[in-house]
């Protein structure tokens, strides 16, 4: 089995807020991330898929096809958008790096032909990233 990783980038705005809490609790728990005017990051996404090498093509997956899937399922939805306000899965879910990795996994899980999704890694910045392996 071979693991293959494709990168993509998107830039998005977000803020952290739990509607079930009063404002002061949001401020205390989330700090400056609770500013409701939002702030943003340049995210880097790394999607790793696992599969066998096709004896004819020598590919695990067609990278062009994988690139198009990431563009269609993730980048076109997240890039230059406000995650809380414009991306449906974050209407009731705080758009933390962990939850973004989980949401991207859910978007991609059944979409990759001939290979199995292995890991979704999301970098919020080079010093902070989250991994999700589909462990529910």
């Amino acid at each position: 089995m071979i693991l293959l990783t494709r990168k993509a980038e998107f830039s998005s705005a977000h803020y952290y807020w739990n509607d079930a809490w009063p404002a002061e609790q949001n401020a205390r728990v989330f700090g400056k991330c609770a500013n409701k005017n939002g702030h943003g990051h340049n995210y880097t996404l790394e999607v790793t898929v696992a599969g066998e090498v096709d004896p004819v093509s020598g590919f695990v997956v067609d990278l062009k096809e994988l690139k198009d899937i990431l563009e269609r399922e993730v980048v076109s939805v997240y890039d230059h958008r406000h995650l809380n306000l414009e991306v449906p899965e974050f209407a009731g879910r705080v758009p933390t790096t962990e939850n973004i990795a989980i949401a991207i996994w859910e978007r991609l899980e059944d979409k990759i032909p001939h290979a199995k999704l292995h890991r979704v890694r999301v970098y919020e910045m080079p010093e902070l990233f989250a991994d999700y392996y589909g462990e529910r």
Partner: protein
């Protein structure tokens, strides 16, 4: 803070990794070896005056994502822990002068294991792996002896 870690919760399990930078000097030298043997084994790293690196410490923590915060652990709490227990102790120090390396050679293998042990004491989430870059060409990983974790992560 109880709202963060959700160790027994039913949320998905995710892994959060944070990178810290620190600069330190060291000298690779084993008292059990002769002078010639130290030089043969460690080469220029055995220079008696020491040398230094800009280390990058990458700590990976695993846990159930809290449904209320969306987080594995409180990042502020993790950074404060790292400041007190990692950076304040090792940044701009000579590793060989520290009690951790009194009886152990200050290789990055031993440093990586020491960092793992430090983060085992972090109460906010479970340390799964520590990876230390000594230079951009050399890096070391330790997952508490669980090789499976290294392979998966």
């Amino acid at each position: 803070m109880a709202v963060f870690a959700s160790p027994t919760g039913t949320g998905p399990k995710a892994y959060l990794s944070r990178r810290y930078r620190l600069s330190a000097s060291h000298r690779l030298h084993s008292d059990t070896f002769s002078e010639e043997k130290n030089w043969a084994v460690y080469g220029k790293c055995n220079n008696p005056h020491g040398h230094g690196h800009n280390y990058v410490v990458e700590v990976t923590l695993g846990g159930r994502v809290s449904p209320t915060t969306g987080m594995v652990c409180d990042l502020g709490e993790l950074d404060r822990f790292a400041q007190t227990n990692l950076l304040a102790r090792f940044d701009h120090m000579n590793l060989n002068t520290l009690p951790e390396f009194r009886d152990a050679v200050s290789t990055t293998e031993n440093f990586t294991i020491e960092v793992y042990r430090i983060f085992e004491r972090f109460a906010g989430a479970k340390v799964e792996r520590v990876r230390v870059e000594e230079t951009s060409n050399n890096s070391f990983e330790y997952a508490g002896g669980r090789t499976g974790e290294v392979e998966r992560l």
